[in-house]
């Protein structure tokens, strides 16, 4: 007797929009587990990890925020190669607020988030009309320019940076603050991108002339997307300033631009969850490979290439597709 694999797509839309979802524990679990598992994972991990891996978790959350920020911009049609700009602006804002004005970290963080977001958006506003690679090139150059400006003018501590910045009150506040921010950003911005507002942002990427033809000011919407993305990046930067108790020129380094893109692409662009998943894989992987020494980057690069070649849609989209598919072997007459 021959057999073939039968694949059934679960009617997720019907289930999630109908009281049918409440018909059994199995259905509720099916809908809730993709949300509950990452939340529980991020909340419980700090309790089971040692000091070193807790720091890695901090890095995961920070890079995941930067990847989220990149993904939001990318979904609005703005492919940024310079998330370091947002990270650096937030880091310097928080550092200066604390160092020069004596602002406590828990106040400096939100203020730096808004200030950094505003500054990031204003800096990129003149080039928001550029499309494709032209926008990308500008975003790549601007953080590098900031480094040279700080170096040449010796402002904000010049090459020495600003040290002695106050840390957050405790290690646990540090950990749970960034985890809470990451989860809130992930679910909040996923909801935003699935709303009609998010639809307009996605439509701008698809066909900006058509959005203009619908009477919508795409410049204003792009500016809003820039502010949102810049704020998320600035928050990540401001947070790390208080973790390291230092801010200096390395906050504008290429690492903060490239790794978030790799995370979002490997994880699955256009979903936000993919960005977090990507960061959760790449950052620990980088730490694991640290033992290899000089060849670390080679292995890391190979790993990235394999991921992108084997799963070009991204890990999250693959998992999501498989999760919604029910497969079974059936006998063929």
């Amino acid at each position: 007797m021959e057999r073939r694999l039968e694949r059934i797509d679960r009617g997720i839309k019907v289930r999630s929009e109908d009281v049918f979802a409440l018909s059994s524990w199995r259905e509720m679990l099916y809908l809730l587990s993709p949300r509950v598992v990452p939340v529980l994972g991020f909340l419980l991990l700090p309790l089971v990890l040692d000091n070193y891996w807790q720091k890695v978790l901090l890095s995961v959350a920070v890079f995941a925020l930067l990847a989220l920020s990149w993904d939001i911009l990318a979904q609005a049609g703005m492919v940024s190669l310079g998330q370091a700009l947002f990270f650096g602006l937030g880091a310097y804002c928080s550092g200066i607020l604390n160092h020069a004005l004596g602002c406590p970290p828990l106040l400096a963080l939100p203020v730096a988030t808004v200030l950094g977001g505003l500054m990031g958006a204003v800096v990129l506003l003149p080039v928001v009309r550029l499309r494709g690679v032209y926008f990308s090139m500008v975003t790549l150059i601007i953080p590098l320019m900031f480094v040279r400006v700080i170096e040449a003018t010796k402002i904000f501590g010049g090459t020495e940076g600003l040290s002695g910045i106050a840390p957050l009150p405790s290690k646990w506040i540090e950990l749970y603050l960034i985890v809470a921010v990451l989860l809130a950003a992930l679910f909040g911005f996923r909801r935003m991108m699935n709303s009609d507002y998010g639809l307009v942002l996605k439509a701008i990427k698809d066909n900006d002339r058509s959005v203009t033809n619908a009477g919508i000011n795409i410049f204003w919407y792009k500016a809003q997307a820039l502010f949102i993305a810049a704020s998320i990046g600035a928050l990540a930067g401001a947070f790390m300033t208080h973790v390291y108790m230092f801010v200096g020129m390395p906050v504008f380094a290429l690492d903060y631009s490239i790794l978030p893109i790799a995370a979002a692409v490997v994880g699955g662009p256009g979903s936000l969850a993919g960005a977090v998943l990507g960061a959760s894989i790449l950052v620990p992987l980088s730490e694991i490979l640290r033992g290899i020494g000089g060849l670390r980057i080679v292995f890391y690069g190979c790993f990235l290439v394999v991921f992108i070649v084997v799963l070009p849609e991204g890990i999250f989209h693959y998992i999501q597709r498989k999760y919604h598919q029910f497969e079974r072997w059936v006998e063929v007459e």
Partner: protein
């Protein structure tokens, strides 16, 4: 049909570098009128529409809509005043399902303002508009991604996006091109219904037979200049128009 001037194009010029795309174009449009804008390929019809809708800024001249100059105004601001258009080469949001395509105009400030801020369930309204232009409600076509729709549906989708803006003036840029006779025959009643609702319409068309059935008047362009303006049969009889279309003195 009202008699007051609804749209006035006054001595419009547009040049792209050394190419004179529009030269001294003037015409008027009354409220409720259906104007056919015709001419051979490259005669400047789409450029004229781009000038009216703000996608291209004129080199000289003035466009007055309901007594207000809209010359050089940004396209989204012109839409908000009540002018909607379709594109000759359809411009759907390919990544979105058909009904989500219509949500974008429904989300625009104009529609929200007209609806008094609360516009209810946009999905349902979008499906209503799609049904109005011929998407069968019981079929799944409206839920399909725009990237898999055939040309006939894409043209209808383009029309639905324009109608969803509740415009007073609709500009249809070669809506019939690429459609079968049966498809054109099914779209004509939709245009006639829009007229009955009091909409003013400009149609750019190469399908003259179908256009002349519904147009009140035509403006004929050739090499960016207006060569005729009047009822269709009368305009087509002029020597200049015959020369433009047939390429020789008749």
């Amino acid at each position: 049909m009202g008699t007051a001037t609804f749209l006035r194009v006054n001595s419009l010029f547009k040049n792209f570098g050394g190419i004179q795309a529009i030269t001294d174009l003037s015409f008027e449009l009354a409220q409720g009128e259906l104007l056919g804008l015709i001419g051979p390929n490259g005669s400047g019809k789409t450029t004229a529409v781009n000038l009216i809708t703000g996608f291209v800024k004129p080199s000289r001249g003035e466009i007055v809509y309901r007594g207000r100059s809209i010359t050089g105004l940004a396209p989204h601001k012109i839409v908000r005043l009540g002018i909607a258009r379709t594109f000759q080469m359809v411009r759907p949001f390919y990544q979105l399902p058909a009904y989500k395509n219509v949500i974008i105009p429904l989300y625009s400030p104009r529609v929200r303002q007209l609806a008094g801020g609360s516009y209810g369930d946009l999905d349902a309204v979008a499906l209503d508009y799609l049904e109005e232009v011929g998407f069968e409600r019981d079929s799944h076509v409206a839920y399909k991604s725009a990237s898999v729709l055939p040309q006939g549906y894409l043209k209808r989708l383009e029309l639905a996006k324009a109608i969803a803006l509740k415009p007073d003036l609709i500009i249809l840029d070669e809506l019939f091109s690429g459609l079968s006779l049966a498809e054109v025959a099914s779209i004509i009643p939709i245009i006639e219904k829009l007229r009955k609702e009091g909409k003013t319409i400009i149609m750019i068309e190469h399908r003259l037979k179908e256009l002349f059935r519904i147009a009140d008047r035509v403006v004929v362009l050739n090499y960016g200049r207006k060569i005729a303006d009047g009822p269709a049969q009368q305009a087509m009889q002029t020597k200049e128009v015959q020369k433009a279309y047939l390429g020789a003195e008749c």
